[in-house]
């Protein structure tokens, strides 16, 4: 972990130490900032919040949203839930995996895209849905997902 990241983690710990139920907001702040929650930060977090390292590890790994390693430049999520399945998301998933050459939870060789499954984006009226970073996309077909991938690779 770079010195820069260590400094920003200290900053976030300081900002959250007195918040009731601080751990979740703190983990979000760290991940929003540097993209993941490094394992090397657990002991610092644990000490500041009067927890054990095991407790911090337990929380980080319990939630699908938190990751312990740096992701690719962009995160592409494909919805796997029922509504999207009813509109053909399975074929879309297969296409995306093949096109990117990765499975879920993996990052493309060029480091541009990390592929993740998601179980509902609340965009069920416009299935199948996907999201790129924080932007939700609706009625995603092969053409649309190609656009999304191209944009992500270009940016």
């Amino acid at each position: 972990m770079s010195d820069e990241n260590l400094v920003s983690i200290d900053k976030h710990i300081e900002a959250h130490v007195n918040v009731p139920g601080a751990l979740m907001p703190l983990l979000h702040a760290i991940q929003d900032d540097i993209g993941y929650v490094p394992e090397s930060s657990y002991s610092k977090i644990a000490k500041a919040l009067n927890l054990s390292v095991a407790e911090v590890h337990g929380v980080v790994t319990f939630y699908h949203h938190f990751r312990t390693h740096a992701p690719g430049k962009h995160i592409l999520q494909i919805c796997r839930a029922e509504s999207c399945q009813s509109m053909g998301s399975e074929a879309l998933e297969a296409y995306v995996k093949k096109t990117l050459g990765v499975d879920y939870h993996q990052t493309t060789a060029d480091g541009a895209i990390t592929l993740e499954p998601v179980y509902c984006l609340g965009n069920c009226a416009c299935s199948p849905a996907a999201s790129i970073d924080d932007q939700v996309c609706g009625r995603v077909d092969v053409a649309r997902v190609n656009e999304i991938i191209a944009e992500a690779r270009g940016a």
């Binding site: 009731p20 139920g21 601080a22 751990l23 979740m24 907001p25 983990l27 979000h28 919040l49 407790e55 337990g58 929380v59 319990f62 939630y63 699908h64 949203h65 938190f66 839930a81 029922e82 509504s83 999207c84 399945q85 009813s86 509109m87 998601v118 179980y119 509902c120 984006l121 609340g122 965009n123 069920c124 009226a125 416009c126 299935s127 849905a129 999201s131 924080d134 932007q135 939700v136 996309c137 609706g138 009625r139």
Partner: protein, 516 residues
Amino acid sequence: MAIKIYVPRDSSALSLGAHKVAANIQAEAAKRGIEINLIRNGSRGLFWLETMVEVATDKGRVAYGPVMPKDVVSLFDADFISGGAHPLNLGLTAEIEWLKKQERLTFARVGITDPISVEDYVAHDGYKGLKNALAKSGAEIVKEVTDSGLRGRGGAAFPTGIKWNTVLNAPADQKYIVCNADEGDSGTYSDRMIMEGDPLVLVEGMTIAGLAVGATQGYIYLRSEYPDALVTLNEAITNAYQAGYLGDDICGSGKRFHLEVRRAAGAYVCGEETSLLESLEGKRGLVRFKPPLPAIEGLFGKPTVVNNVISLATVPIVLDKGGKFYQDFGMGRSRGTLPIQLAGNIKQCGLVEKAFGVTLRELLYDFGGGSASGKPIRAVQVGGPLGAYLPESQFDTPLDYEKFTEIWAVLGHGGIVAFDDTVDMAKMARYAFEFCAVESCGKCTPCRIGSTRGVEVMDKIIAKDDHAKNISLIRDLSDTMLNGSLCALGGMTPYPVLSAINHFPEDFGLEKGQVA
């Protein structure tokens, strides 16, 4: 005077390009020297027409949709700012049949107002409920809510007033109001639409809940998959503080209520109330044993009201118009209205708020217009991933908690996902177990182990391996999960599984009508 133009900021509209439409309208208006006031409203809930742009005219608001970014120039050419004729012109919004047939109480303002403007909110009957509540005692507020017959809209349908009464009567130095905004069910998006389209109604509902039970702190536990809702909620909360509707002295009454949004982190099980509380406390979202009830020992061990977004967002109208007014809608013990969400393979997906009693068939065909693919609708899952699959023969069931219980189904949060005749129900049953395995918190064995074994046994059934024996094994496993799980995740996974086997036996290699 600047012309008012509305372009939704609802994330489904954004997913279809609403930001780009809004940007193009701004640019084109500037180019033509037309002064406009662009308002980013919520969605009216007609998603097949998004991006739906509205213009305020002398006759009322005129709608255009679905507008693509490339259509903007032609809209200006057609003088849409005066409601001009254009192939996308839908007429007066208020006259759209799909909206006229609804009974919008909780969603009264969604799509109409500027979601983050307190002024606009108040101009459209907002904060009337709070004003009434401020003149009442806690017990009187609770009575009004009890009289309304409002039941928890998250899915469990527990009477809201009774829950509040328990918290009211639990003595404590600190109590909490927690809003469950972890809307994880596939096919549901009404919470999101409220939070993005009329967040102040939720803020008001939570404030009233605080006054009712004597809680001074509220938390909205919002799923991390809703980044747009997070922004809208935070803007609305900031504005409510500034206008004196939140804080240490609400409307000069000397009463206090503070509110904060907390982000979840992608765990479906945290929609279960005790798991949610664990998460808010900064722990893994493990389900707690009950008792003690959260109403007695909830967040940080204090008495806590945990209610769904829609339940809390319905409280303002109950306090505004009275419990009796709300109670007059509905059927049987299901009082009031339900915001129903049409999703999946449906031509006209969207938000339909109707009094209880409307049938699935009316929703699927009159509102939904049938399937999106044009093929027959074969199966419908109501109430999210833990809801039963219903065949066509059950489409005349009215939406009512008790009527659904009679057919071994649930209404849940009012999400309806339709599948056409290409669906393979054995695959859907397998998926139900798979989802449960991914999302299980791991505390109880039936859910943690049962879900994984369920996937394995379903794989054997799909491969036609020792078929009859494995079907009976699935039934046996489902029975264990139903009766032995700690919460609804493991306890209701058998609903989609068994309903799929019972209603669609042919997909499991059984004869139609044959019950293994």
